[in-house]
Each structure stands twice: as C-alpha cells, then as structure tokens.
Symmetry: C2
Subunit: 342 residues, 2 copies
Amino acid sequence: MNIKEVARRAGVSIATVSRVINNTTPVSENVRKRVEEIINETGYRPNSLAKELQNHKTNTIGVIISVAVLDVTSLGTTINAITDVLKAKGYSIMLANSRFDSKEELDYFKIFQEKRVDGILYFAVNFTEEHYWFLKKYPIPIVMIGQENELLDFPCVLHDNYYAAKLATEYLIQMGHKKIGYIGIPEYDAAAGKERRKGFEVAMRLNNIEINPHYLAEGNFSIESGYASMKHILVQSVVKPTAVFAATDFMALGAMHYLTEKGYTVPEDMSIIGFDDVDVAPYLNPPLTTIHSDNHAVGRQAATLLLQILEEGGPGIKKFVANYELIERKSVKNLIIDNCTK
Amino acid sequence: MNIKEVARRAGVSIATVSRVINNTTPVSENVRKRVEEIINETGYRPNSLAKELQNHKTNTIGVIISVAVLDVTSLGTTINAITDVLKAKGYSIMLANSRFDSKEELDYFKIFQEKRVDGILYFAVNFTEEHYWFLKKYPIPIVMIGQENELLDFPCVLHDNYYAAKLATEYLIQMGHKKIGYIGIPEYDAAAGKERRKGFEVAMRLNNIEINPHYLAEGNFSIESGYASMKHILVQSVVKPTAVFAATDFMALGAMHYLTEKGYTVPEDMSIIGFDDVDVAPYLNPPLTTIHSDNHAVGRQAATLLLQILEEGGPGIKKFVANYELIERKSVKNLIIDNCTK
DNA sequence: TTGTAGGCGTTATCAT
DNA sequence: ATGATAACGCCTACAA
C-alpha cells in the first residue's frame, strides 16, 4: 500500500493525498474526508524512507555508547533524559554500542552517515588519533558527552570529574586522613580515568601529603576489580591507609566487601569514599559517602544542544559542565579528635 | 555527494559505480580503481535511504522497552545480548522507551512501521485490548520478550517467572519457614507481577500453608518501595513472619535496609529471598539469596528468533523459556533444628 | 482547489 | 564490461 494506491482508490491525485496527510495546502472538505476514509480502511502509513530521501532529514539521532554492561553505570539515567528530550521533538533514536572497540566505533559513525541521521550524541571514552582524522571531516553534527577534545571543537557536556575528585579527596583530608589510597581507572578513559586521578593527586599535593605508591591500585569499573584492588593495597602496604578513594561506586562496593570479609569494619578501620552515587549507594553497609553528579542534566543538555544545532543553526553554548556534590553518608570516619564544636 | 557525482568525476555511468560498491557484476580493473579513488577522495558514502527504499529492506530492528529507569533491571544485559547478535548480522537498532505509557507504545509501533524497520523486539509489560486490535493487523514481524499473549501468537522468549517464584517459596518452606511474607509487583505487569505472585501462592497452597494477608505488600520495583513494603508488613502483623520473598532484588534490598535500620538482623531475625540476581546481590550484607535467570540467553534467543523469521521465513521455535536457578547465599536462615547431617 | 511531472539516490533490468 | 533507464514512494513547484 502506497500513496499512489490510496490516490487511485480515492479517485484523486497523489498530490492531494499528500496534502491531506501533511496539511500543506488547503483541500476541500469532502475530498479530505474521502481520502482519510481510505487511509483508515487500508491502514496505510506513509513510507518514511521516501519522505526522508526527499526531505534530506531523517528525524533520527544516532547515539554511540561504549560500555561493557549497560546497567553498570549511571548511563541509563542519561539515556533516559536524552530520549525524553528527543522524543518531545519527534526524533527517533538509533543506538550503537561499540564495546570499547575503537574500530567498531568508527564503523558506527560510517553507518550513521549512510543512514543519514540528523545528528550524533557521542559518549566518548577513548579518543584516538584515528578518531581525530576521521571525525575532522565528518559531515554530521556531533555532541560529545563525558569527554572533551581540544583538537575537535565539538560542543560537549561533561561531568566535572577533576574538581569532583579533588573535592572527594579534600573531604577525606578534612576528616583528618593523611594515609589515603586511590583505586583508579586506566588512563585510556580520559574522564573517569585521567581526570579523577588528577583531582586526587592535586588535592594531595596541595595539602602537602605524599602519595604512597603502595596505596594505589587500578580497577576497571567492576565490583570485582574493586575487591581485587583493595586486596592489592592491603597486601602491599605495611602501614595501612586509613582511607581509600575509589573512582567508582562499584569499585568502592567491591573494596568494602573485601574489607568486611577480612574482618575490617568500615569506616572504623578504614574509610571509603566513592564516585557516581549509584542507586544502591544509600543502602550499602555502611551507606556510601560519594560524589553525586547530575546525569539527568547531562542527558538533557546534550540532547538540547544537538537540537539547537539542528534547528537553530548552532548550539546555545559550546560546553556544559554538570553540577556535582558530595553526599555525606556513613563510610568515612572523622579522625579529628577535637570535637568541641559538638 | 552522490553516486551521480562520483560517476561524473570518474567518467563512468552510475551503474558502474554501483557495481564497484556492491561487487555485483565484474568491473574492469582500471575502472574499478579509478572509481575507488574518487570515492576515497570525496569521502562519498552511499545513501542508505535510497538503497533501502529500493530494496524494501532497512536492516534495522526496532526495540520497544517500557521502563522507568534503564538501569534498574537486568534489562541492560538483555539488550547487550540483542545488539551483539543483531550487529553480527549487520542490523542496526532503533530504541524506543514507552515509559509505561500504553498510547505512546502504540505510537512507537506506528513510527517503526513508517520507518520500515524489518522487525521488532517487544519487551511487553502491560498488554491491553487496544494492543490486541492494533497488533493483530500489524504488518511487521514481532518477537515478544518477557511476556506471552494467548490471543496473538507472536514468538516469545520468557523468563520462567511462575516456576522460579514457586521454587523460591519452596526453598523458604524447605528451610523450615511457615510464616512467609511476600512483597509483590502490581498485576498489570503480567510477568513480574502476576506470574511471580502465582508461584508464591501455589507453593504455599501445595504445602498447606495459609497465606497471612498481613504478610502481603506491594511495591513498584524500586528500593524505596521494598523499604516501605517491609515496614508495612512489620507494622501490620502482630506475629511477625520469619521470612519474606521479595519479587525483585531491589525491593529485597530495600526490605533488608528497613530491617537493619530497625535493629533486626538478616537472616537471624528475618530471612529474605529476592528475584533477579542483580550485580550487587552477592555484595550485600548479607549476600542475597535470590533467583538467577539467564538474561543473556533471553536477549540472544529473542534476536535469533527474529532473525530466523526475517532470513529463514519463520522462527525455529515459537517459544523459548530461559533457565533459572536459585542462588543460595546468606540471607535465608535454616530453621530446621535437625542438623545431624553436618 | 486540484493535477502533472520532475527529482531525491539508489538498484536492477535491459540493451549494447 | 558498460550504459540507459525504469522503478522505489514521496514531496513540491508549476500549471490548470
């Protein structure tokens, strides 16, 4: 069933059918009625492909993510915010998960180009030189999420990883900790890896606290890796740290679990602070002190920026940095003896 | 840049360009080379829309989900499995989240029809009569996930909610519990709501244990609702239950949290069993005994079934039920005194 | 208000 | 091996 057949049955031209469907030009009442009847009877639905081919607009946005398991991060919240904004404007979403495979990621960019998506929301993780050369001449608007790139000036929306991590570390220091460990993410992840680590390091340096290399470990976002990292730190250090900052709540959870298993109490024997404020953080034992970042705002802003590019010729702003805050719960012990203010 | 322009620059016809792109008919070596050069120089990429319009095949699959927050369930795992299978066959994915809005859900079906997706993976939750009439004459292949429908014979892949819930309840009974509570999901959710509740009820009846209405509560998947439900049960009952089955791990987590807050110990004072085996389940305090269902298999099977319909004319099977197992951890106490076997 | 016809970018069927 | 050309299903001047 196509527009031609509808036109034939209604005894009008395809132009007229097109007009009643799209309300472009006035159509006489009885003709409109007849056409609408036929459409209902036949269950005809216009072919978007033909329409899009004609209009050079697909009303679909490509979303590229790179994640092992979709529900391990707060990504879900962000994507929900994106779909809400986009849906309200009539856009559909094509979702591609590159699974950390750089080559595959570029393939998705190619596919999206062939599919002629109107724009792309790109959750960047590992930005290679190949990406640079490829994206440099990519013809479709891109908004980057979670990472910025100095070379390519795509609009981007970011978490404030550096400052937030610095804040977390400073909080530990304020609470009297000096022997502070850090469970990080590898550097290939510029945001959660590099930035958070930098925040930790700078806070330490600013407070003239030496970083003990034995207190350092590296995980991969997973609970298990947090467990292993905590073990690593404990085994390796003769004098144990009094606090550990995990770059991810899930790693913090793993670390706490190792501690509990070995008979340590959190925060009595060891303080833990996380990053992300995942759903379960308030319900852990003890409730996890962590950094909360506004994922919803990130999704909303990213989608809005892209929409502005598409419909207003340019993004309202080039860069949006989401709010963050430290959520104080029960996993960090105050080491300061002087409690006279209480 | 289009095929015509490439042809012009290469000094050949568009047919020839098409041939070198698709390797359909032999092309002389030097012509092929020249065309490929032009393609590289210009960065030309064929327009999928035109191709798809011509071929009546879009190589894209629509996925319809209905969920409040993407990372609240094990949905992520399922979707990952789906994308893996589909990607391997060259399909792209359009994702639509109806957010429990029935009308919106049907809108997405319409959009997918207009976009001419090749097939649809449908995570059904609330199947209304309107759905029936609409989907009855829907022209695109659908595979249902998580729910089956007696009226429409779509192929479906399911979790064994009924038997798994029955097993969980029987386990509690085997461990000597008789005063058993249940925190459920409303009936509108045929799978997690109706089926699991039925499993609970049947197991109780089969073992001649009366269900105490004061031990019943209803949540909405969330941790908070589990917390509230546990409170509800405890406040309401004079003689407290010794065990509670929560239809969802997150609700189980909320329940445990309430218990801990009120000074109860799990499982000493109250046993808890969950359903889902979420990531954090092994890391809770205590580690949560729960039902594990093979989400990966569900996604894989659903995608495979749809592919079979598209490429082999029909699904290999009409119905696939995923494996489940009870994961015994530490949140259920054995009430049977007779421990002589140990 | 309505119809005709060209074009969107491909593929595929003919010829040549 | 290559080139015209007719679809695919729609939109949109332009004409009537």
